[in-house]
Every structure is written in C-alpha cells, then in structure tokens.
C-alpha cells in the first residue's frame, strides 16, 4: 500500500498530465462533422504511432551484444514507423481529395 502511494506521489506530474490530456482529447474531438470522421480516425491513428519513440528508446538502452533485444527492438521500430508514416500518408491522401473541391465549385 505504501509503495502504491509512493508510486503515485513520484508520478504526480505525469498523472496530472494524463488527466488533462484525456479532457483535452474529448474537447478537441467533439463537434466534428461526420464527413471528417474517417480522416480524423486515420490522423489519430498516425498520432499514436508516437509509440515508435518508445521503440527507439528501447534500442538506445539495449546493450550492443543483447541480440534478442536488438532484434525485437528493430521489429518494434519498423512497425512503429509503419504506423506513423502509413498513417500520415493515408490521411493526407484522403484530405487531398477534399481540398480540390471548394475551388472548383
């Protein structure tokens, strides 16, 4: 119990952050027109690709002769990058189509 409280105490800053970020996420997303749901979902999908930063940190921590860690970490970096790059490119492709419209009509 004491350790639980300690853990919370040590990470108070992060917990504040967490709560504010949750509220911010709700606030930012509400009032989105339905037409933008798909691009928005896709964009959000790309943003959580930030997990790749974690994969990079893991790789930086790993000792150079710890091959299992290096291999798994490498896979993590590849997959995280797929998430980021694929996500942003797909979103951009979708939005590119919306773009042309107002000028033409």
């Amino acid at each position: 119990m004491e350790q639980l409280l300690n853990y919370i105490g040590e990470n108070m800053e992060m917990i504040y952050f967490l709560i504010l970020a949750i509220l911010l996420g709700v606030e930012v997303i509400s009032n989105v027109p339905a037409i933008l749901h798909t691009p928005l979902m896709s964009g959000a999908n790309a943003v959580h690709g930030v997990v790749v930063v974690g994969a990079i940190i893991v790789m930086l921590h790993a000792s150079p002769d710890n091959y299992p860690s290096l291999i798994v970490g490498f896979l993590a970096v590849v997959m995280g990058t797929l998430n980021v790059v694929g996500g942003f490119v797909v979103t951009d492709r979708m939005l590119e189509m919306f773009k042309k419209k107002p000028k033409k009509s």
Partner: protein, 466 residues
C-alpha cells in the same frame, strides 16, 4: 542542457499533436493539421535519436538498426499508403493501427527482460504499467489484424460456440494473471502466457462482430493502441508519448461513441453482438411470396430527366463497383437538364463514418451536394426520385417498423417518403447486416438489377439522348 532541449522538443511535439487533431476536425484546415502533427512526430523522433543519450561508440549497431528500421518502415508504409484503393481505406487504417499495437507490446516484452523484479513484495508500478501496455498492445494488434482480414474478405465470419462466455472467461483470466503477477508471483512463463492469452483474446473479441459494425471496432482498437502508447510514455516518463497516446485514447473513445450513436446502439450492444448473436439466422423468410418490380434503363433515364428533385443514396456497393466517377457524371448531366441532384449520406454509409464523403470527393462531387441524414430526411417527401446505389441497410424501413429486426432503432434515410424509389442492386441478396429489406417490395419501388457502374454508364448515355 541537452536534456532540456529534448524536453522542449517533446513539448513542441505534444503541442503539434493537439493542434493537429484540432485542425483535423475542420474541413478547411484538416490537411494542414495532418502535416503539422507529422512534423511534430519527426521532431520527436529526431530529438530522441540525437539527444536522448550522448553518442556512444560501442552502440553503432544500435544506431544502425534504428536507422534501418526507420527507413524500412517508411518505405513500406509509404508504398502501402500510396497504393491502397480509397475503398480499402478502413482496413488500411486497421492494419496500421495493429502495427502500433504490436510496437507497444514489443516494447513491453523487451522492458520485461531488463526489468529486475527486486520489489518482490508490495506494489511495483513500473511492472503494472508494463503489463498493461503488453495486454492492450497485443489485443489491439491481433484484433486489428482480424478486422483487416474480415474487411478484406480474407477471414470469414466465425463464431465459437458460447463465444461470449469464452471471451468473458479469457478476460477474467487476463485480469487474474495480472493481479497474480503483481502480487509478486512473477515468472517468465506467466508473462508470455499473458501475452499469448491477450493475443487470442484480440482474435476472439473481433471474430464474432458483424461486418457492419467493423468501423466501431476499428475506432475502439484505435483508442486501445493510443492507451498502450500512453503506458509506454508512463514507463519512460516521456511526455510526447503520453500526450499523443492519451489524446488518441480519449479522442478514439469519443469517435467510437459518436459512431454508435449514429447507429442508435450502445457500445455493449455492438460488442456483445446483436448481429453476432443471430448472424447465422440470415434473412427472414417472410418476404418469400412478394414480388419486386423491375425497371428498364430507358424508363429510368426518362423518369430522372423529367424530375425536379433527385436524391442519390450511395452505399458501399457504389464504392465496390468503383462507380463514383460515373455517378458524378450522371449527376452533372441531370443538373444541366435543370434537375436538382443531391446526395444523401447516412452517417455509417460505406464502411466508416465519412468514408462515402471521401469516395465522392475523389470523384469531384461538390462538397455542398453531400447532405447529411438530418438535413435531407425532411426534404425526402418532396423528392421525385430517390436513386439508391448499392446501399441497403441504411434505407431499410425495418429499422423503424420491425422491433424484432437487429437494426431496429437505427436512424435511417427515410427514402420511402419520396415519390419514387429506384434501387440499383446486383441481385436480391440481403445487405451487410444480413437482413431482408421490405423497401424492395413497396409499390413505389423499382429495381434496376446489374453492376452499379455498368448500369450507371448505360443510364448516362440514355439520359444524354432524352
């Protein structure tokens, strides 16, 4: 000093995520928002590589592998994203989402190796965060891949006997194992057992959910991955990961709820499967002795040309047939003849909310012609002809009249209010939800059988001659 620069870089990245998402929710700024978030991501990645640790000569292999991983991921990701057809967008998003989930789970696996379970008694917060990242990441990974496979048509619907009971048991096992490990009974086999069960749970979780509900599931899994990424952020006290992950976690949840609302169903109802429950039931038999009336291309062309108000209801069938361009051509032609043409977009038309708008935008259909359900429904009574192209469930009156129907309560486009309804359809098969549509048998309904693109092409040339 340098560490402060790293923190500032993360601050900038976090800001770009918030601003990017905000801008993504307005049509004019959406594209810029996406770019801004992408730039923020780039800053976070570069800062991590260059500043996180002072350069260490003995770790050239690590740096090499990181660089290689980034390059490989970028090339594959760009290629996939550029090549994918607009119709296959939902499964693409699902696939990328699964990759993110896998990344989060793999991080947990490696950290577990490095983690020394010195705190044998008492609470080990780091370990809990790690376990949660592992569980959520792997559920998201396997679930997303199943969703991908189902939408691609590579995986058939498959329901275990007592699937829901099995799922509940598995969930209980996952929770139990987590608590058990947290209580100091940590061992490597248990950790990998947890990984395996989480992966299987992801599969069984998505498996029984019907195709029509897939967007909701993808959105939910999207927010799962966000949460998994946030746990990673917690583990490293990394604020960029935390903001990015949590933002997506909460935004994804809201989006999921919005989608459920569009179908007038609760999330539990979707997940525990109203469709899943009676998926094998198939179409209801009562329609057997009723007849449908067909209409010829020429008659349709004449009818359309002499109408005042025409409303097109596009569905997934239109997308599958790649008929959005020819559809736009028909619309332009009719407009030249003085017919007012609008598109009625149901919130869940296509396979994802907004999916149909993307497809029609691709075909250069003017933005303001796309009308949402609330907007168009009151106008339908004064509409001369409604043309339903490859849509079914979203115009099914059973959602209003038949309380035993699985889609009962879902708001629909009330096309039965219009004077005439023409339905372009390949055959008499039921819609995605697997239920019969009584609209087809109404006296004012005419069926135009055939491939949507083919029919529309013929229709366009006929209209030209009227």
């Amino acid at each position: 000093m340098t560490l402060n620069i790293l923190e500032i870089a993360y601050l900038i990245a976090s800001l770009t995520f918030v601003i990017g998402l905000k801008m993504l929710s307005h049509p004019e700024s959406a594209r810029k928002g996406n770019l801004i978030a992408a730039v923020g991501m780039l800053i976070a990645v570069i800062a991590t590589i260059t500043i996180y640790q002072p350069f260490d000569n003995s770790k050239t292999l690590n740096y090499g592998l990181i660089a290689l991983g980034l390059v490989v991921g970028t090339i594959i990701g760009t290629m996939m994203a550029k090549k994918v057809k607009m119709t296959a967008m939902p499964q693409m998003v699902s696939f990328f989402n699964g990759m993110g989930g896998a990344c989060a789970a793999l991080i947990a696996v490696i950290e577990y190796q490095n983690h020394n379970t010195s705190a044998s008694l008492g609470f080990d917060g780091e370990f809990l965060v790690m376990l949660l990242g592992l569980i959520i990441g792997s559920v998201s990974f396997s679930g997303s891949l199943i969703a991908y496979g189902k939408l691609e048509g590579k995986i058939k619907d498959f329901v275990l006997p007592m699937n829901q009971v099995v799922n509940m048991l598995m969930l209980a096992t996952i929770l139990g194992l987590t608590v058990y490990q947290m209580l100091g009974n940590d061992s490597t086999p248990l950790f990998y057992g947890l990984l395996a069960i989480s992966l299987i749970y992801g599969v069984l979780f998505v498996m029984p959910i019907g195709g029509a509900d897939m967007p909701v599931v993808i959105s939910l899994l999207n927010s799962f991955t966000g949460v998994a990424a946030a746990f990673g952020g917690f583990l490293y006290s990394n604020k960029a990961m935390l903001t990015g992950g949590i933002l997506v976690g909460s935004a994804g949840t809201i989006l999921t709820i919005l989608m459920c609302k569009a179908m007038n169903r609760s999330l539990t109802n979707v997940l525990l499967g109203a469709f899943g429950g009676n998926a094998s039931g198939g179409p209801k038999g009562e329609a057997g002795d009723q007849t449908v009336r067909e209409i010829s291309i020429t008659d349709t062309a004449v009818l359309l040309s002499y109408s005042q108000q025409v409303v097109i209801v596009p569905g997934y069938g239109l997308a599958v047939a790649q008929a959005q361009h020819i559809c736009h051509e028909l619309e332009k032609l009719l407009e030249e003849k003085g017919v007012t043409v609008n598109y009625a977009i149901h919130p869940v038309a296509g396979r994802m909310p907004g999916h149909m708008n993307v497809l029609l935008a691709e075909a250069d259909v003017p933005y303001e012609r796309l009308q949402e359900m609330e907007e168009i429904n009151p106008k339908l009574a004064s509409t001369d002809v409604v043309v339903v192209i490859g849509a079914n469930d979203v115009v099914n009156p059973a959602a209003k009249n038949d309380s035993s129907s699985p889609i009962y309560g879902m708001p629909i486009l009330e096309v039965d209010q219009a004077k005439n309804v023409i339905i372009l359809k390949r055959g008499m098969s039921a819609g995605y939800a697997g239920i019969e549509n009584e609209l087809f048998f109404y006296p004012k309904t005419r069926m135009l059988f055939g491939d949507a693109k083919d029919s529309l092409q013929k229709l366009t040339s006929e209209v030209k001659e009227v």
